[in-house]
Symmetry: C2
Subunit: 552 residues, 2 copies
């Protein structure tokens, strides 16, 4: 690598979550910012997790000085259990983030060997040639940070996931003063959160949700059931506050919600007046208008407490007349129909349901256009790289920066795997690194490739037809009639005729009339072709056809 050059390599994050893993390099020093893990997309059938390809980092393991995690959300921490055992480098984060990472690593039995360091916002650490200061920002989880990275080429600012909340529920507003100070000093490069660049104006304060919750709880005739993200600590705090104000007790349902409330309470991020948090076995003794149930399931997750309640399938809770349900979240793209179905079922059970389309029961944790402009205006960077978002978000964010006067040649829309080399004079994408996906299905890591996914897709469309033929080894001829079994293709009762026709067709296809033995590869191709054509003619379906020969 040439001298006096910063190298920027976004490495991970896909889909809705985007680019929450990045390597920043100067000569022989590399720091990694965030270690996110995306949720599987709909079309990745049966895949449990996806982790980024880390071959690029593994090859440069000796140069990596540490991983810096900006906040405790899954899409910034989720890959750590897979990365740490292989990289063995220290991880730096604030206290709540540290707590969440510890829980995660413990679950994966890799906590003991991990080197986790707790940093305070405002504190500075030195990693090789980089001096890194943690900057307090507001987001939908406490203890979120941006980063101020002093490099030999100048100051780099990384926004983290942020919004400019002037009245946050927990802690202080985003540290605008420090950003303005940096802007005055001169900033070489800004990385900034693009998630909500499509939304004009400002993202409302988290506190505005509290007002809605308070009003709905005040008017609710019976129990109130509130579903939200387990990580939304400030939302949970507002639920507790509103419940306390209206002399209600809060009961927690759902494992991740229970864990989250416990952890945040222990670390002091969640404060409940005495006796407000109730134990589930005390629920029956209370009048309905003294009860708030706080649950998981705001994304319609099929095994969550709220969805099981909506389906009358929860062992300990069901809807009773007079219940009010608040879904305090917006559906993550892809979850829309799961959430709608849950709301429908709750109405069907007789609940009154409030959700994002009807009431302001949720606000985003990311800044909208005016906040992104404010970040750009305060920091006044020479160069700009939009991060966190799909390609359209990055493009629009770059255009927003240009509208504020940053020359187009100084903004870089780069995608995962691009290598951007930056000097004080300018930047250039100089190549690409492998940043493909590693699929995790059950216990295996990386043993699912595109073939398996393609097969699952085919199987899910029209099912499978298995053709089993007994082949006379010596004569190379089919013996008797083949067995046909299908799954996911057609109702079995309806198919006797069709099965007979298939048997006839296979026998006819393979009856080549000579004594020359036929080859398996020929049988395989021939049966697939002929049968595929026949079944399509008969049914307009294209099941996967799996011919199998048993030699006898």
């Amino acid at each position: 690598m040439a001298k006096r050059k910063l190298r920027i390599v976004p490495l991970g994050g896909l889909g809705e979550i985007g680019k929450n893993r990045m390597a920043l390099e100067y000569r022989d020093d590399i720091i990694v910012i965030d270690a996110g893990l995306m949720f599987p997309k709909e079309d990745m059938l049966g895949i449990d997790l996806v982790v980024p390809d880390i071959s690029y980092l593994l090859e440069r393991r000796d140069k990596i000085r540490g991983i810096i995690v900006t906040h405790g959300h899954e899409d910034h921490t989720g890959a750590l259990p897979y990365l740490l055992p292989q990289l063995g480098v220290p991880v730096y984060s604030t206290r709540l983030t540290h707590g969440l990472i510890s829980v995660k690593l413990k679950e994966h039995r890799v906590l003991t060997k991990a080197k986790l360091k707790v940093i305070q916002p405002g504190q500075t650490i030195t990693l090789g040639k980089f001096r890194i200061e943690f900057l307090h920002v507001c987001h939908s989880i406490p203890d979120s940070t941006g980063l101020i990275i002093h490099t030999p080429l100048g100051i780099v600012v990384h926004s983290g996931d942020f919004k400019l909340d002037h009245t946050p529920v927990e802690g202080t507003p985003t540290d605008l003063a420090r950003l303005a100070q940096l802007g005055a000093q001169g900033v070489l490069l800004l990385f900034s959160d693009s998630t909500y660049v499509e939304i004009p104006g400002y993202t409302p304060s988290e506190r505005s949700v509290g007002e809605t919750l308070d009003r709905i709880i005040a008017q609710a005739p019976g129990r109130v059931i509130i579903a939200t993200f387990a990580s939304l600590i400030s939302r949970i705090q507002q639920v507790i506050d509103a419940a306390a104000k209206h002399q209600r007790q809060v009961f927690i349902l759902g494992r991740s919600m229970v864990d989250s409330v416990r952890m945040a309470s222990e670390l002091g991020y969640l404060v409940a007046p005495p006796d407000v948090l109730g134990r589930l076995d005390g629920l029956r003794k209370l009048a309905h208008d003294r009860i708030v149930l706080l649950t998981t399931g705001s994304q319609g997750e099929p095994t969550s407490a709220l969805v099981r309640i909506a389906n009358r399938d929860h062992p300990r809770a069901h809807i009773i007349p007079g219940d009010t349900v608040i879904v305090s979240a917006t559906p993550i793209p892809g979850n829309e129909s799961l959430v709608s179905r849950t709301v429908d079922n709750l109405f069907r059970q007789g609940a009154q349901v409030f959700y994002d389309k009807l009431e302001k029961v949720h606000v985003h944790g990311h800044g909208s256009q005016e906040e992104l402009k404010m970040m750009l205006s305060l920091v006044k960077p020479k160069f700009f790289v939009p991060i966190h978002g799909e390609y359209r978000h990055l493009t629009l964010h770059a255009q927003l920066a240009q509208s504020l006067g940053i020359p187009q040649s100084n903004t870089f829309v780069i995608e995962d795997g691009d290598i951007l080399d930056l000097t004080p004079e300018g930047g250039r994408v100089v190549g690409r690194v492998s940043s493909g996906n590693v699929y995790v299905d059950g216990l295996g890591v990386g043993d699912i490739g595109s073939v398996v996914l393609r097969d699952r897709r085919l199987l899910s469309r029209d099912g499978i037809v298995v053709v089993i033929m007994a082949i006379d080894k010596r004569r190379g001829k089919i013996v008797g009639r083949p067995d046909i079994v299908s799954r996911g293709f057609i109702e079995t009762g309806e198919t006797e005729d069709l099965l007979e026709q298939i048997r006839d067709l296979v026998v006819k296809t393979l009856d080549h009339g000579s004594d020359h033995p036929i080859e398996w590869s020929f049988i395989n191709v021939k049966v697939k072709e002929t049968l595929g054509r026949f079944l399509y003619q008969q049914t307009k379906r294209r099941p996967m056809i799996l011919p199998m020969a048993v030699e006898v």
Copy 2:
């Protein structure tokens, strides 16, 4: 059926589209309102179409006096090709709707026997005891109607799909005067469209989109590519008008768009100044800023023109620098990620893209809360049945009616298959009829049941493992080692070891050490159980296991 009773049976429509098929009965007369067909939901793997179960109508065929279709959208006409051959009753609709139905029936080769009648808005027909007047309403397709149904019990108003557009692009506003007149006269029952009951305020006029299109086209430096629904005739008209104003020619891409423009032009619903509609082969000769391309693909449909352009996969068109793309639609629930991916790819190809989140490039065709209130206030019905929508929409619409003074006991939230009997005194759900779904996959109708769907779901999750055993017929023992083939389960390269272990396990499982022949049912269950447990332990996956025996 008792005397003096109206019977209301919503029969079809599911998912996002809802209840667009209904039977209205009085003694021995039945009329059917709309014959919709929903698109398959995501979790109906490989299903091409879903049509409603029409057994209820078939059993009462003699009483059915006709089918009335309120407008020409797929979710109101799509089931006609399946229903008409079996019911043989006449279909009544306005002229454009008639044109669209004819095209559809012709495609399905059932046009010749169909009895299609064209009705003018304002015109009245008599079907048995029902006298039906077609009422002009605004919606996203011209020639949309509501229905005024004079019954022996009183007047029934059916809103159709409607909005109250005071400045529609085509035709006149919704006929409010007639509705007010009816309200003064006294209306027994109102059916009204619930699709956008969640949205406060008014749905903007279709004309407001024209202003956005005009502004974007005026400023576009090069070609403009506009994607919208082929049935959105007024949108297409606005594109033509804006193009003509800015001295551009319009070129049509995509089969359904070409067909739609041709049909609407022939019937006079679409008017283009001379030379504005161009032929594709003239495209190359024109300067870029003289070109508008009108395409399908606004829902990210994989084979549509826009998506193929976005993927550089269209034979005749691709993105060139300076192109502006307008996606003039909102994603239908479930299509969000397809649309986002298309927008990303268009940006990636270098286009500037405008879509619903950035600009007012689309308005809905359904009324929002204030319009629904207006309908209720004008018609002043004694009874109210919300239609068109999911359960939450129907519930909210009933609550809206109650907030305007209709007693709760006079509003009925009913679901498909419910039988609502209504007298002037009140209404009651008296039973349910079969209104399950009939799945269409390829050519078959109704031969796909829940077992096939469950299998496809299982197959799509972890694939399939086929175990083929040669069984000695006489001794009832397994001969040799079994063959194992898997699809969609695990990469083949990785599995040699695992396959060997499976073979060992199967042999061991079936080696019962006696000479007593083992039964197939035992083998089947035993192999499934043992292997299922083993594979789950080894891989945490649960593929479908298909044991097969070949007797030798």
